[in-house]
């Protein structure tokens, strides 16, 4: 007897991309979820410290990064639509546009870290800054990897490595990029908004 209700397993449409990638996505979301929940509960015992740290955060940078990542994800969706229509050139174009939009995130994150380090705050300042740097840096590392994937996929799409009938690689890369966006969707309000 299955532990999972049959209704949850009814197949309607294929899962986009490779199954292995989705297992990775679930694992990544799980790890970050532990981080996020820990942040929420550690804050309980350090209210003043977290309130103080919150005041020094660059919320404009956080907002710009949210807009950049969501827009980049939108461009990736356009790329997937293009390859499903067999338009390799358009797919490559949208992926490159997604990459350059993500460059805005990199630049702004660099500005944010420059300001924060310049103000004398580091990983070792206190518990708030430990969480802030660990959370944002690990997410940043995922953004950089995702950007490399976007560039590689854009190049392969332009060369004709994908087509309307076979584009699992594009869908896998796109799903990874949306995961990066999904992580930020929680991180931004958790660290930069809720106070």
């Amino acid at each position: 007897m299955s532990l999972i209700p049959a209704s949850l397993l009814v197949k309607k449409q294929d899962l986009p991309g490779d199954l292995a990638l989705w297992i990775l996505i679930l694992a990544e979301l799980g790890v970050f979820s532990l981080f996020f929940v820990s942040y929420g509960f550690v804050r309980l015992n350090n209210l003043e410290m977290f309130a103080e740290g919150y005041q020094h955060l660059n919320r404009v940078a956080g907002l710009i990064n949210t807009i950049a990542l969501i827009t980049s994800s939108y461009f990736v969706v356009r790329a997937v639509i293009a390859i499903k229509e067999g338009n390799n050139a358009s797919c490559s174009f949208w992926l490159r546009l997604a990459f350059f939009t993500a460059c805005i995130y990199v630049g702004v994150k660099g500005w944010e870290y420059y300001e924060t380090f310049g103000a004398g705050f580091t990983l070792h300042t206190n518990t708030f800054y430990m969480f802030y740097f660990l959370l944002t840096f690990f997410h940043f590392a995922h953004v950089l990897l995702g950007m490399a994937i976007l560039l590689i996929l854009a190049s392969k799409a332009k060369k004709g490595d994908y087509c309307a009938e076979n584009h699992s690689g594009i869908e896998s890369g796109a799903s990874y990029w949306h995961m990066v966006d999904l992580l930020w969707i929680v991180l931004f309000p958790l660290v930069y908004v809720i106070h």
Binding site: L8, V10, R43, R78, L182, V193, I194
Partner: protein
Amino acid sequence: MTSVKQATTIWLMLMIATAIAAFLGSMDLSGMGQAGLWVTLASIVILVIKGQLIVDYFMDLKHVQPIWRLLLSAYCLVIGGFVFLAYCLSVI
């Protein structure tokens, strides 16, 4: 499959939701008492809505096996719930 029109509409909705969240984040809650709790709840509801839109339309999971949609949707819902719980405990 998400269409261009759908994707563009969802992008617009995400932008609006982000603007509202940013406005809520700029509010000074120090003198708001219980109202601050509602502002925080609103921020978390927005988080869950944004996450669901990305799962359904950007990740295109709206019509796949429901188990996958459920697992991804649970991420925002469960985390949002825990964060709200932690916030409530901090104001008690």
